[in-house]
Symmetry: C2
Subunit: 114 residues, 2 copies
């Protein structure tokens, strides 16, 4: 049976004390998450360095995504997406403090299609 239909833009958590991550679907090879941010950023000097690829899409709000070695963060708004390959060090430089930023993230095994 299919899952119930759920609206991931409705009833957003306040996310005042930290990002709120919800797993929307998951298998052994993939995890689909909704992340709600409210002004949070990756702690200064810290980087994400992940074993799996991550494809991200901003659904609402805005955020700055910084890749190691880049001149500065890239601004993402609703509809903007990026593929962050496994091992590509990156950080969330900022998220909009005045509205909730909603991300969709798809984590999946790094092995590329042959």
């Amino acid at each position: 049976m299919p899952s119930e239909i759920r609206n991931i833009l409705a009833d957003l958590p306040p996310a005042l004390s930290g990002e709120v991550v919800d797993t929307l679907a998951e298998s052994d090879s993939v995890r689909i998450e909704r992340i709600v941010s409210n002004g949070q950023a990756t702690p200064q000097g810290e980087w994400y360095d992940q074993e799996r690829n991550e494809w991200v899409l901003v659904l609402a709000g805005s955020a700055g995504l910084l890749f190691e070695g880049a001149k500065g963060p890239q601004r993402l708004v609703a509809g903007d997406c990026a593929l962050i390959p496994a091992g590509c060090r990156h950080r969330v430089d900022w998220t909009d403090p005045s509205v909730k930023t909603v991300w969709l993230a798809v984590h999946f095994a790094a092995k590329p299609k042959p």
Copy 2:
């Protein structure tokens, strides 16, 4: 290196002569697609019956999603998502003919997480 940032809600194709499917990211275990519809529906009497799970999210527009055995289609609007398990027969009953409907679809292997 990360991919270029792309906005998947900008510069939408007209999709007048059929749905337009773009692969946004892909590995051996997952495929992430953007699908733009403009009034299209699954041909009457036909059903999708897929070997992989499909997680769908409507980003813009609206659509009716019908699962075999259900009383009628369920209306999906922006933010609505559903997991369609492998082998779950379904069809797109309608998409809004007056605006473009933008779907995000994540196809992934059916094996559930143990």
